[in-house]
């Protein structure tokens, strides 16, 4: 029964990891921008939802504010930081340092406003109920999984059938050729930031209602996203999705054998194993094509 309990918890965690990681992977895969501040997008969305909730504005307004905040942050960062760096032919490392620095700034600003301790959005859906003898699951766990399934379904359809989805895949393949087609790579990149930032929002909101929030958790979110992107295969959205789910499950099931303080080490043990044994990841480009 414990294994089943941990599997359900792992799927819930994995669904949230997958949402965040796919957002990062989509941005990195199509623009080649190492958007380390993706974790800061998570923090902004989570705390905006928390603020709207404690201020009594209600669920819908909270979701709208979190979504608007996440999109605005992603787009502004792209427009005023990444685009100028790329225009001046700045290196990958320059982008990384700029993005990392902005993540630190966001963490500190959020810490100054909301404090550095844990805060939680309390909802009736957060409380576990016994669904069979010895098995306790909070309704929000099912919502997490459903939410992830719905978002991934929409994303799959978008990437496969919409012209912008095809343009995103095209940009990932060959940015120079995108210009030959007469498309605007900057507009497509901005779309990648918009979609990638939106994918963070459900994970941020649900995390606020389950594990709670603190301003420093953006780094953890980013490290998980990075691990899932590498394990899944850089540039592969389905691979990152699978890897996010697998990492969540592995972290949870590891509790059968190790203390909770070691669960993060499990994630990185998996990451190192993939780097050594299968550097292209689960569905990396060499395998996917």
């Amino acid at each position: 029964m414990l294994a089943l309990q941990l599997t359900i918890t792992g799927l819930q965690t994995g669904a949230l990891y997958a949402l965040t990681a796919v957002g990062f992977s989509l941005i990195f895969g199509s623009t080649r921008i190492f958007h380390f501040a993706h974790g800061a997008t998570f923090i902004i969305a989570a705390y905006l939802f928390y603020y709207m909730n404690v201020s009594g504005y209600g669920l819908i307004a909270g979701i709208a504010a979190a979504t608007a905040g996440a999109i605005a942050f992603g787009l502004l960062l792209n427009r005023f930081v990444y685009v100028p760096i790329q225009r001046d032919e700045g290196s990958f490392f320059t982008v990384f340092v700029a993005s990392f620095g902005i993540g630190i700034v966001v963490q500190n600003v959020v810490g100054m406003i909301f404090g550095r301790g844990y805060v939680t959005v309390s909802t009736p859906l957060s409380f576990s109920v016994e669904i069979m003898e010895g098995l306790y699951v909070a309704p929000i766990a099912w919502i997490s999984m459903l939410c992830a399934a719905v978002f991934f379904g929409i994303l799959w359809g978008f990437l496969k059938y919409s012209q912008m989805g095809k343009a995103l895949r095209a940009l990932a393949d060959n940015p120079e050729l995108v210009r030959v087609f007469g498309l605007n790579p900057r507009f497509i990149a901005a779309s990648a930031f918009t979609i990638g930032s939106i994918l963070v929002v459900p994970a941020a909101i649900i995390s606020g209602a389950t594990s709670g929030l603190n301003p420093a958790m953006g780094h953890h979110v980013m490290l998980i996203s990075l691990a899932a992107t590498i394990v899944g295969g850089i540039g592969s959205v389905p691979g990152t999705l699978l890897a996010g789910l697998a990492l969540g499950l592995a972290e949870s099931l590891a509790l059968l054998y190790v203390d909770s303080q070691w669960t993060e080490a499990v994630t990185f043990a998996i990451l190192f194993l993939f780097i050594i044994i299968r550097p292209s990841g689960l569905l990396g480009r060499s395998a996917a094509h």
Binding site: K166, R179, V180, F181, H289
Partner: protein, 238 residues
């Protein structure tokens, strides 16, 4: 009566990172002709092509299409004037199917949805072999098939001016001729103007009306293909 000039570069200088790749180049493409641009690697052929299509800003000089200044125009604006480009290398997106590449190309060109099926049919009439792999990811196609798709995508815009940057790269001479034969037929039928950049001189001259030879960013010779054939020194070089 001489044919009118549809695309012209006047004293163009351009390059990368402050290093000019072409110097003071002037070239004219006339209506209903195939102009072949010949030169070794580094001659500046592709740089000139990128300038003409709005992919690279020139440092000096001007470009005109049908007599109108287009020097500062983007690739999209140049394409809207009836110009299409087949880029160097494989002009396809490996992860997209051929159908998706065509669809994205027509979307980017602003072709109305109701016209798109007819455009595809028109291209498939010219290059019927594409029918066999319409639904395959372009990354799984052979070099010749990918080049065919790249040319097909450019033709979807029904251009008046076609810029082709080294379409023979990686292709056997026979395959290259098979690929160019329908394009030459189309050019003669539709009065298309084609600027063909090539290193494979002998094959390219077979379908060209005029030729220009470039070396180290400058133009060193211009004339008819048969004159170039007679020029032993140049033919030895190229």
């Amino acid at each position: 009566m001489s044919k009118s000039v549809v695309l012209a570069a006047h004293n163009i200088t351009a390059g990368y990172g402050g290093h000019p790749a072409i110097n003071d180049i002037s070239v004219e493409l006339r209506e209903d002709e195939v102009l072949c641009l010949i030169g070794h690697n580094g001659a500046g052929k592709s740089t000139l092509m990128k300038c003409l299509f709005g992919l690279l800003a020139s440092e000096a000089g001007s470009i005109t299409i049908d007599g109108e200044e287009t020097t500062k125009e983007t690739a999209r604006q140049v394409a809207d004037r009836g110009v299409a480009m087949v880029p160097e290398g494989r002009g396809v997106f490996p992860s997209l199917s051929v159908r998706d590449i065509f669809s994205l190309g027509m979307h980017a060109a602003g072709i109305p949805k109701k016209e798109r099926a007819d455009r595809v049919d028109w291209v498939l009439d010219i290059l019927p072999a594409i029918k066999e792999f319409m639904n395959r990811p372009a990354g799984t196609l052979s070099g010749g098939q990918q080049q065919m798709v790249s040319i097909g995508r450019a033709l979807l815009n029904r251009p008046r001016i076609l810029l082709m940057d080294e379409p023979s790269i990686g292709l056997a001479p026979k395959l290259f001729q098979d690929l160019l034969a329908p394009i030459r037929a189309l050019q003669q039928r539709e009065k298309l103007s084609i600027l063909l950049v090539e290193q494979n001189v002998r094959e390219a001259l077979k379908i060209s009306d005029r030729a220009v030879v470039m070396k180290s960013g400058s133009m060193i010779w211009e004339g008819m293909p048969e004159e170039l054939h007679d020029n032993e020194r140049l033919m030895e070089l190229y």
